[in-house]
């Protein structure tokens, strides 16, 4: 197994290198001039040239790339111009915020989509089936930022049920001691239930916004997979031997149908991590996505490179995890790199 994991990781190296090169070239093609930004409002051309030199931007592209890779090898992702802090530090403090949001979004989505999918599969072709399809498809048809804004308008502004969209915690709560960086987990670890609730309240709206966006693929996969299992021989046998329909569906069919759903989850998760940049912006969420957007708009090279690299590594690890999970769940599945 370890050997297989190693092999799998090795095979991911070319993609990661590809990502590095493409991101590097893309950032250098951005229209802004970090040196001019750095130099401030009253800069003279000489001052800008000096700053360009001190940033190493006067070197040729290949030279800059070599410097970048050398720094990277030392674990140095560079500094962000906008916040003045090392990118590594920014990523470390912001990634948990994004992860927590995305994970909860996924949990909410699964909680809604899987029952819908099962329901649809047990009554294919009925009005229930059709409405499930329409509802989930409608969810994926709205731009996530628009869903978010509408939810804020209705649930916070009009009704006052949701807390203010001010990021991870209400203004008067302080963050729990940093253990995992996930506020929900950390607050439970130190037994601070008040903070737990505060964090959960802040999370619900953005997580639901994300969930709405991902109902469709999960529900669709659950439905298809359930249909396939329900028509298979062993279910027919179970039915024939007089087991109650409920038991057949939930105890036997459901469990067997989950395998392809887990694979979909992995894909949905990695898609969500990339897609939640807009949701973060709407909810003032201090995640890694907001950071990346700001950096891109400001032609701030280091954070963009750091962000993309982090995401690429997560993508590789996630796929690996899914493969491993697959084997754990169903040992019949072979492992091919």
């Amino acid at each position: 197994m370890l050997l297989l994991i190693g092999k799998r990781l090795l095979s991911a190296i070319p993609s990661v290198i590809g990502v590095l090169v493409v991101t590097f070239l893309l950032t250098r093609a951005l229209p802004g001039d970090p040196a001019a930004y750095f130099a401030g409002p009253a800069a003279t051309p000489q001052a800008i040239a000096e700053i360009r030199k001190s940033l190493g931007l006067d070197k040729s592209l290949p030279e800059q790339f070599v410097v970048y890779v050398k720094d990277l090898a030392r674990g140095d992702l560079g500094n962000s111009i906008a916040t003045g802090r090392p990118v590594l530090e920014e990523v470390r403090s912001r990634l948990p915020a994004s992860l927590e949001l995305t994970l909860l979004g996924l949990v909410v989505s699964v909680g809604i989509a899987v029952p819908l999918g099962v329901l649809a599969a047990t009554r294919p072709g009925s009005w229930i089936d059709h409405s499930c399809r329409v509802i989930t498809t409608a969810g994926v048809s709205l731009p996530a930022f628009f869903t978010g804004l509408l939810l804020i308008y209705v649930l916070y502004y009009l009704l006052g049920w949701a807390p203010a969209p001010l990021g991870r915690l209400d203004i008067f709560n302080s963050a729990p001691r940093d253990i995992t960086g996930l506020y929900l987990v950390d607050s439970l670890l130190v037994g601070d239930l008040e903070t737990f609730w505060a964090a959960l309240k802040q999370l619900l709206l953005p997580a639901f916004t994300l969930a709405v966006f991902t109902l469709a693929p999960i529900a669709r996969m659950t439905r298809a997979s359930m249909l396939e299992v329900l028509s298979s021989d062993f279910i027919r046998t179970a039915r024939a031997s007089g087991l109650s329909p409920g038991k057949v569906v939930y105890a036997y069919a459901f469990r067997n149908a989950m395998l392809p759903v887990v694979t979909t989850l992995g894909m949905v998760f990695s898609f969500l991590l990339g897609a939640n940049v807009l949701v973060e912006k709407v909810f003032s969420w201090p995640g890694i996505g907001t950071f990346a957007i700001e950096a891109l708009i400001a032609s701030d090279y280091a954070p963009i490179q750091g962000f993309v690299l982090t995401m690429a590594l997560m993508y590789v690890l996630l796929n690996l995890a899914i493969d491993v999970l697959y084997i754990v769940i169903d040992p019949r599945v072979g492992f091919e790199a």
């Binding site: 409002p41 009253a42 709407v282 754990v328």
Partner: protein, 538 residues
């Protein structure tokens, strides 16, 4: 079985989490003594001398650090408070005197003043801070130079509590320039401890740390999220502020900021769209109040790059001015939140006030005639560039201008440049037609023209305009001691800017700050950021 084991394992992990729990109640903070401020963006550095420090950072520097002197305050006719640039008052200095020849100033420093770490403030700290401002280059050095403060040799720590500044020649801007945000007083002992051989001014450390002694101490700074300041109870340079704690939250969406204010979840909203302000003032929705003050010495304008065809011809620039839909821009783009700069009295300027309305109005016939005279009877094609960061106002302005220009045959496309790149785009001086704004900290017409029109071609002269006669007038007025002569010089260069029209002033901007009805003491400052020290929450 393995599947079940997996599910079981994960639920065990959750359960242990619960068991590990130990009691740690979060400290409850009173809402009453805390001020919650909403901003669109927050500071990007705590060091006012830092490279790339944005104007959003002034709020941290202004409240955390002291200057030797500061400006007094006055009440405007409508009852709002404003700083008074004609009144200089001591801050960290307990008194100051000017030499009879106007070539030096001597400051006596408060003997009881301490930095946040408890060490006393001395003239050596002041000397170090001034040296730093003129040595590190970039914006702080430029700003110091605006008041003839350029070399460390000009600054002397006479003794522990006496500090002297020498000037090469008398300069009316020298004293006001020592009251702006840049000459903040740093704790030099603390800074030196964190300096390195490569970085003698501790630039790296100061970005994220404070070496201050002002009214507020830094509690937390999470860039892109929030800045939290707490009151320094030992502060001696002024009356003790009323607010104990300030939380500045960054909320990028204007709609969310409005919602938070309306629901009473925040006390002050600094970056208010003109539309919200106009509606609040019209009494449409009086859930909270708004205080609007015209920003001194600041104008939104249409710039034309005078080195590029066809804008090298003054008649073309005049034509653009006469084709500008001033009234529509004023009403629909900024909802009346500005002071119009068109339809001024005909002829030459009548006084030396600045800004003052230009004698232009929307007149398409006249614009067509001017275009034809310049040899473009059928118009031409060009691009209107705007700043994406300011798109709420600039975009409708550009669309209205585009439509109006189309009527005199000028076809345009609109280019939106992301905020951070706008400056470098303006620096290139190749965006033929652009909508931008410029304001000067020091409220003097010659100061505005020195940056905005002078042939030294600073970045703010986005039109790349050069006129030697105007330059001579600006340079002369800079050190003119005779008020009558000064007035004549100022009227002279204002007239030239009307005749030559390298930029068409649209309106003087208004700084609108929204606040709950129980907030008192808000004061307008030249740096446009919040001064928490004067604010009270009833």
């Amino acid at each position: 079985m393995q599947r079940r084991a997996f599910l079981l394992a994960s639920s065990i992990v959750t359960a242990t989490g619960l068991l590990l729990a130990a009691a740690a109640p979060a400290a409850a903070q009173s809402r009453q003594e805390t001020l919650v401020v909403l901003v669109e963006n927050g500071p990007n550095s705590l060091d006012i001398h830092g490279v790339g420090t944005s104007f959003r950072s002034y709020v941290a520097a202004w409240n955390m650090y002291d200057r030797l002197i500061t400006f007094g305050r006055k009440t405007l006719p409508d009852g709002t408070l404003s700083y008074d640039y004609s009144k200089i008052e001591p801050e960290l200095a307990e008194s100051f005197t000017a030499a009879p020849d106007g070539k030096s100033f001597t400051f006596k420093i408060r003997r009881d003043a301490k930095f946040h770490d408890g060490s006393p403030v001395t003239a050596h700290d002041v000397k170090w801070s001034y040296d730093r401002a003129v040595s590190v280059g970039g914006f702080p050095t430029f700003q110091m130079a605006a008041g003839s403060l350029t070399k460390p040799e000009q600054f002397t720590a006479v003794d522990d509590y006496t500090f002297r500044v020498d000037l090469p020649k008398p300069d009316k801007l020298a004293l006001p320039d020592m009251a702006v945000v840049v000459p903040a007083i740093f704790n030099s002992k603390l800074a030196k401890k964190n300096a390195t051989e490569k970085d003698p001014w501790a630039m790296e450390w100061m970005k994220t740390n404070s070496a201050a002694g002002g009214a507020y101490k830094l509690e937390k700074w999470a860039p892109g999220q929030e800045t939290v300041l707490v009151r320094n109870d030992d502060w001696k340079s002024g009356p003790l502020p009323k607010i104990k704690r300030v939380i500045m939250r960054e909320v990028p969406s204007a709609g969310n900021r409005r919602a938070l204010m309306e629901r009473g979840d925040a006390d002050i909203s600094v970056d208010m769209p003109q539309k919200d302000a106009a509606e609040l003032l019209a009494g449409k929705d009086g859930k909270y109040k708004v205080v609007g003050v015209p920003i001194e010495n600041s104008l939104k304008y249409i710039g034309m790059v005078t080195t590029m065809k066809p804008f090298d011809d003054a008649r073309v620039r005049q034509a653009i001015a006469y084709a500008t839909p001033f009234d529509q821009i004023y009403k629909t783009a900024i909802y009346g939140r500005g002071i119009p700069m068109s339809d001024g009295p005909a002829g030459a300027p009548k006084d030396a006030s600045w800004p003052q309305p230009f004698p232009v109005s929307t007149d398409l016939e006249k614009a067509k005639k001017l275009l034809a005279e310049a040899g473009y009877p059928n118009g031409f094609e060009t691009t209107i560039s705007i700043d994406l960061g300011d798109a709420t106002a600039s975009e409708p302005e550009a669309v209205l201008l585009q439509q109006s220009l189309a009527q005199i045959g000028i076809k345009t496309t609109i280019e939106k440049i992301p905020g951070a790149n706008f400056r470098s785009a303006m620096l290139q001086k190749n965006r033929p037609l652009h909508i931008a704004s410029f304001g000067g900290w020091l409220n003097f017409p010659d100061y505005y023209f020195f940056w905005g029109y002078h042939g030294q071609n600073a970045v703010f002269n986005t039109m790349s305009y050069k006129n030697e006669k105007m330059d001579a007038l600006i340079d002369a007025s800079r050190y003119e001691a005779d008020p009558a002569k000064y007035k004549e010089q100022v009227m002279g260069f204002i007239k030239m800017s009307i005749d030559e029209m390298p930029r068409v002033p649209l309106y003087q901007q208004i700084l609108d700050v929204g606040m709950q009805k129980n907030i008192k003491g808000y004061t307008y400052w030249f740096h446009r950021q919040l001064d928490v020290r004067q604010i009270e929450k009833l």
